[in-house]
Subunit: 257 residues, 2 copies
């Protein structure tokens, strides 16, 4: 069988990469290429969930820091200091409260603008992937069954042709009414077997085309989802960085004696 | 007695403010003005110690925050993310470590440049204040004792003068050798009492002058110490603020995707 031509020859695209089956790392059996792709997609979603968990941890750290700073700003140490020095000291404590506020706002924004979106780990994703998996597997089964039918029909045709040939040789040796009848019958059967094979090949081609179309459609869709995921995460990591940046900017502006 | 003229009439200075005794808040007894000043000085040092304690608390909070950020940066969540997104994610974790480092440096500088200096709560200060207290109290006692001597000498002189007067009247009534002798003796005693009084007044003036000089010297010195304390604390609060500012600046520059 000739190599299938690349659909997007100049690019690395999903629709060109997951057709073949891959040997299992353990060496026993093979891994369907499409299943590899599905696993990659599921892993991607897990990564996204893990990222949102790390952001959650960061939020907790910021909340804790804010709590500690706010508590310290309420501390009465040296509260009896007098005059302008007392005012400066009160300002130092006030700046602790301001800083606590900034960290608290940062953590709230991390939650609403980063963690939640990342966590919006479309719960249907796994189900959708399973549906894809079953659909492609069904098409592959159908294709395999059509292939088996073709093989069976090809064998049947070969047998019928051999039978016809044998009977034709018998006729050359000894002409008889019965032999002529047998040859006609064998000719009909052979034609029938030829028609069967043609029908099986048609069915196979139809199944192959269905599988091919579905593979291309699905891999393109999965690729679109992956691009979407990467872009979505990239945006949220940028948002995370910007929030952090703004937090430090704000801290800078609130502190001053 | 006329009001003592102000030494620095146009300013509020310690050397003009702590001469009188103040009624105790509880209403019983009085509080020596100088003791009020000493208490104020001791309280000032306590404030300084309390401030360094608050800075110590801030240091602990920063250390804790740094520890949490560093720990989070070591977290393996989503470490298997691949490609450029994996690199960006590694950068996010790296920035956590950088931020932890910044907070750790901040806390170390707070310790070496603010807390330690504030804590250098000259342990001799309390002892020095006690010495001042005893010295001024001794001078006050001496002054009081001189005053009592003056009063006693004044009374003695009054008695001698009355005695002399009586004896002079007796001489007018009845002239006698013995009376003349008595008068001469009384005159001598009166002159002696006058001299005693003069000597006591001299001693009193001397003690008063000593107390006055010591009060002026000591209050000026205490004022100098207070100005020094306020300036020292002001500088360290500025240092605190600048360190905080630099920390946020640095944080700003280290974060970026």
């Amino acid at each position: 069988m000739p190599e299938q031509p690349l659909l997007k020859p100049m690019e690395w695209r999903y629709c060109d990469c997951f057709w073949a089956d891959k040997k299992d790392p353990q060496g026993k059996g093979t891994m369907v290429g499409f299943k590899l792709l599905l696993q990659k997609q599921l892993k991607g979603k897990q990564m996204q969930k893990a990222m949102s968990e790390l952001v959650r941890e960061r939020i907790k750290i910021e909340e804790e820091h804010a709590k500690n700073l706010a508590k310290l700003s309420q501390n009465l140490l040296a509260a009896q200091e007098e005059g302008s020095l007392g005012e400066a000291w009160a300002q130092v404590k006030k700046s602790l409260a301001d800083e606590a506020e900034v960290h608290l706002k940062f953590s709230a924004k991390l939650h609403s603008e980063v963690e939640k979106s990342l966590m919006n780990f479309c719960e249907n994703f796994k189900k959708d992937m399973k549906k894809c998996d079953h659909h492609i597997a069904d098409l592959r089964k159908q294709l395999a069954s059509c292939y088996a039918s073709v093989e069976k029909a090809r064998k049947a045709l070969t047998e019928q042709q051999r039978d016809l040939e044998m009977k034709t040789q018998q006729l050359e040796i000894k002409l008889s009414k019965k032999t002529e009848e047998d040859i006609k019958k064998a000719q009909r059967k052979s034609t029938q077997a030829g028609d069967d094979l043609m029908r099986c090949v048609d069915l196979y081609n139809q199944a192959q085309s269905e599988w091919f179309d579905e593979m291309v459609t699905t891999t393109l869709e999965l690729e679109r989802l992956e691009v979407e995921r990467v872009e979505m995460i990239r945006q949220h990591l940028c948002q995370y960085t910007q929030l952090q940046h703004k937090t430090h900017m704000f801290n800078q502006s609130t502190v001053g004696l």
